[in-house]
């Protein structure tokens, strides 16, 4: 016993001392470093795997195919956050130390919670925080959040766009209709509330809000309630296990799935496959299409996996919604890098400040997307200081039991209604933190 | 509710027709006896006679269904053990009830707890009031430690001590409270001869030097007859004898209880 104890003690101290020797290693000075606090385990690990797999595959694609941007290769490092805020912060601190001269090109955390937790830090460290389809949405106002970018589109705009879609289905109006909003009871699920409340006023439909406590693997009561309410549609803001549970529960109470329309975090293969038959007919929003028929996705499979540099051992995730979303996120990041180099000098990695400027002056046109072989994969993006969102467009897709089928063109949310909401909340934030809103020139 | 009674001053404790039962099972039935100042009062009887229950009634661990208890003339139906302790009733237990996780010193210090007044805030700040108080009580405790000759084990965790010493520490804890009435539940059970002799010596000294009234439960007849002033005999929860050791010894009922039923 004694021996064991002392050996344990030895081990414990060895561990601690060896930890003291960890010092953030510098990345290659001439690389463009991308920090990826990713998550591949824990309750949401599935979603993380697909997204970051796609992201990394595209970066290696760019490295292999055209040797990076103007010869500047991309370097990246992952750090497992398990979707946990505290771990996210630790990862951020660890990765930012490694980013060398190009101090954190851009950081993608794919977690609203973590993005909130590191928002201020990224601000101080001058690292652009890219929140594509998640995170602090009032960061759309770049004069208050110069370094935060809720790119492509936000929860509020998405909700508004979904309402618009439903209106279109009903010949343009939703008067007297009843819509249930079933949401994950967290920052993620609550963001759209303001938008939907506003929409229900102007479109005068009845909005019924039903929250589901984390993790949401028990929704019996909620769905009974829905069945009692018997709404015309259910707008569904689920995440992780909550999604397939909801579809199952809907089936359990016999609520038609084709009247349920989910957010883009409730619209991936990972969400519907486990629900099996129950998921058939279910719709969801998305800002990127799935499938391998997009040229760039096919090319990635050919080039990257051909070279044996793929991020996945089995390729079945390629072309899934979240994989393609990862690719889309990477495309935007790469294009920003290109833009930054064009302004601040080709052939050398861009700094955080320079990347910030690039993200704030993005203009990814249809032509550009075509050139990249990403036509229709994601919408056009044009950002400015007033608009860190850049698009606000989504498509609606439907699960046919085997794959997601896009059933709409790009739908834009009601900007004139939603963006003022962002402005207001950004102003409050500025007041609370006593920031004086001002646009950065470069 | 309390009421003055007309009994003579030097009766410390008086029990009148105490009855106690657990879910229909009678542990004590209609028992009365008294304890006088400075005496050593022994309670004897076969196993399961209700001796320990008797002590538990006296210091409020059990609450009798019937009967009344007079402590220093104050009548009480029942009280909780903490109150009893504050009124100066200390006790030891049949099977040792020390605080296993703590050192001998700390165990005995807990005995002083009723005397320590400083609140947790001053305790946290430590310097000043709390510290002085700690020291004062530490001195008291050290006196007890010297008296019971356990200096050498001061800092040892009680769990590590042999049975005999644990019994002694438990006595020390009780004495540290400077009780006016001391209840000892088989303090010599499972001891060898020397240990018993020591323990007897301590009990007698406590009783004589400090004049502490003592109620003693003990199996060893020899010991009981030697040291106690008066003896109560219980059997099956009933009182079958009460008086001076010699009278009790010759009481036929008692003899039959001990010999007739061979426990």
């Amino acid at each position: 016993m004694k021996r064991i104890k002392t050996s344990v003690l030895g081990a414990a101290f060895a561990l601690i001392t060896s930890l003291c020797s960890i010092y953030p290693l510098q990345a290659q000075a001439d690389d463009q470093f991308v920090a990826l606090p990713s998550f591949r385990v824990g309750p949401y690990g599935q979603n993380g795997q697909a997204f970051y797999g796609g992201f990394i595959d595209y970066l290696s694609y760019v490295n292999i195919k055209d040797g990076g941007v103007n010869g500047v290769k991309f370097a990246w490092e992952e750090c497992e956050t398990e979707y946990n805020n505290a771990k996210g912060v630790e990862c951020y601190e660890r990765l930012k130390g490694k980013s060398g001269p190009s101090k954190g090109t851009a950081i993608h955390v794919m977690s609203t919670g973590i993005s909130y937790a590191i928002l201020d830090k990224t601000q101080n460290d001058k690292v652009p925080l890219i929140m594509m389809g998640y995170g602090r949405t009032d960061a759309v106002d770049g004069s208050v959040f110069p370094y935060a970018f809720p790119l492509v589109t936000t929860y509020q705009m998405q909700a508004s766009a979904i309402v618009k879609f439903l209106a279109q289905k009903n010949g343009g109006k939703l008067n007297g209709k009843k819509i249930v909003f079933l949401y994950h009871d967290s920052a993620y699920g609550k963001e759209p509330l303001v938008a939907l409340q506003a929409e229900s006023k102007i479109n005068n439909f009845k909005l019924v809000e039903i929250p589901v406590a984390h993790p949401g693997n028990e929704q019996g009561a909620q769905w009974l309630k829905i069945r009692e309410e018997n709404p015309d549609y259910v707008i569904f803001w689920g995440w992780g296990v909550m999604n397939q549970t909801a579809l199952k529960a809907a089936q359990k109470v016999g609520y038609p799935r084709d009247k349920i329309i989910g957010s883009w975090w409730a619209g991936s293969e990972e969400d519907v496959v486990p629900a099996g038959e129950a998921a058939k007919g279910y719709m969801s929003a998305t800002w990127n299409v799935s499938g391998k028929n997009v040229p760039v996705i096919a090319d990635i499979e050919k080039v990257v996996y051909g070279a044996g540099k793929g991020n996945f051992s089995d390729k079945n995730k390629i072309g899934t919604v979240l994989y393609n979303r990862g690719v889309s996120a990477a495309i935007v990041t790469v294009e920003a890098t290109r833009l930054a180099q064009n302004k601040y000098g080709k052939g050398k990695p861009a700094t955080g400040e320079q990347m910030r400027w690039a993200f704030e002056n993005l203009n990814i046109t249809e032509a550009q997307l075509k050139a990249l072989g990403a036509t229709g994969l994601l919408p056009e993006i044009k950002t400015s200081c007033e608009n860190h969102e850049g698009s606000g467009k989504i498509k609606i897709q439907q699960w046919d039991g085997t794959k997601w089928v896009v059933i709409s063109d790009w739908i834009e949310g009601n900007k004139t209604l939603i963006h003022p909401l962002f402005k207001a909340s950004a102003r409050d934030y500025a007041k609370e933190k006593n920031i004086t809103p001002s646009c950065m020139k470069n | 509710m309390t009421s003055r009674t007309t009994q003579d001053k030097d009766t410390v404790l008086k029990l009148e027709n105490i009855s106690l039962s657990f879910g229909g099972v009678n542990a004590l039935t209609n028992i009365s006896f008294d304890v006088k100042e400075h005496e050593i009062r022994s309670i004897i009887g076969p196993n399961g006679a209700g001796k320990s229950s008797m002590l538990n009634v006296i210091n409020g661990v059990y609450h009798p269904q019937a009967g009344s208890i007079y402590f220093r003339g104050e009548k009480r139906k029942q009280m909780n053990p903490a109150q009893a302790a504050r009124q100066g009733i200390a006790r030891t237990f049949q099977n040792i009830a020390l605080f296993k996780g703590m050192t001998v010193l700390d165990n005995i210090m807990t005995g002083r707890n009723t005397q320590m007044k400083s609140g947790f805030i001053s305790n946290a700040i430590w310097v000043g009031k709390a510290r002085d108080e700690e020291e004062l009580n530490r001195q008291k405790v050290e006196e007890v430690i010297d008296f019971l000759e356990i200096q050498h084990i001061r800092k040892t965790p009680v769990g590590k001590l042999p049975y005999g010493l644990q019994k002694r520490v438990e006595l020390a804890r009780a004495l540290a409270a400077e009780p006016s009435l001391l209840l000892l539940d088989e303090p010599m059970a499972g001891m060898n001869v020397e240990e018993k002799q020591d323990m007897c010596r301590f009990i007698l000294e406590v009783n004589q030097q400090y004049g502490v009234t003592t109620v003693l439960i003990e199996h060893d007849m020899g010991v009981v007859m030697d040291i106690s002033d008066r003896v109560v005999v219980l059997d099956y929860g009933k009182k079958i004898g009460d008086g001076l050791p010699d009278d009790v010894k010759n009481n036929p009922e008692v003899i039959s209880a001990y010999l007739g039923t061979n426990h």
Partner: protein, 304 residues
Amino acid sequence: MQFFIEIVISGILSGLMYSLVALGFVLIFKASGVLNFAQGAMVYSAALAVVGFIDYGLPMWLAVIAAFIFMVIVGICTEKFVLGKLVNQPPITLFMATIGLSFFLDGLSPILFGNEVRPIDLGIVDEPIQSVMELTGIGISKLDLFSSGIIILLVILLALLFQYTKVGRALRAVADDHQAALSLGIPLENIWAIVWAIAGFVALVAGLLWGSRNGVQFALSLTALKALPVLILGGFTSVPGAIVGGIIIGVSEKLAEIYIPPVLQDAFGGNFGGIEGWFPYIFALVFLLVRPEGLFGEKHIDRV
């Protein structure tokens, strides 16, 4: 009214699902006085094992058997390497050990069986029974009904086991009094190993039913949290307690989830849904204060 009935029914059905998990706790607690927090993790592991073995190419029935064997091994190892080493430790220590165990299992099983979310198909579509639906307008889930049937069957099975088999008698003896059992020459280690195996089996059944309900994913190990209030209510040592407690919890939480939030909303404004998370605990807690020994647990007196 009809809606109310519907809520109660669905409450009863999902309550029985909680009972199933609670049952595992009770078995182990009865026999070895350990509150096995890892029961939830065992449910998760069992379900994962089933789908895992299916992925390895086994047919369903074989996968189930294989999973059962896996659970038995887990149980025996737990007894040998964890609890066996902790005899005569205070119950709280054992409890914390099982928390450790639950972490261990949560880590181990995904490595062995993969952590992709997968469905379990018992061949029953989880939808309301049409005939009843048309007749009364009340929706009763086929799967839930089926599950309840299984659970009741399981309980009867266990009851028989306890009543009429040698092992069962030994188990009861152990549950009543370890020392006495020892003196009767019943080898505790084996008994405990058996109990853990049975608990593993219960976990397996739970895993299958819950898995077919929500798909097999990490959240299955959170079913333990649903079972704990049931235990408080029913008492740690009573099988009927687990069943009744489960039903009470199931119904009360559903009713609460439906009827309390509107009241709060009128009082404070805002949205107060999602009280299922804590309601069972507060409910059980209040119940405890009134009746500390639970529904069927027996009172005990502190001896000095």
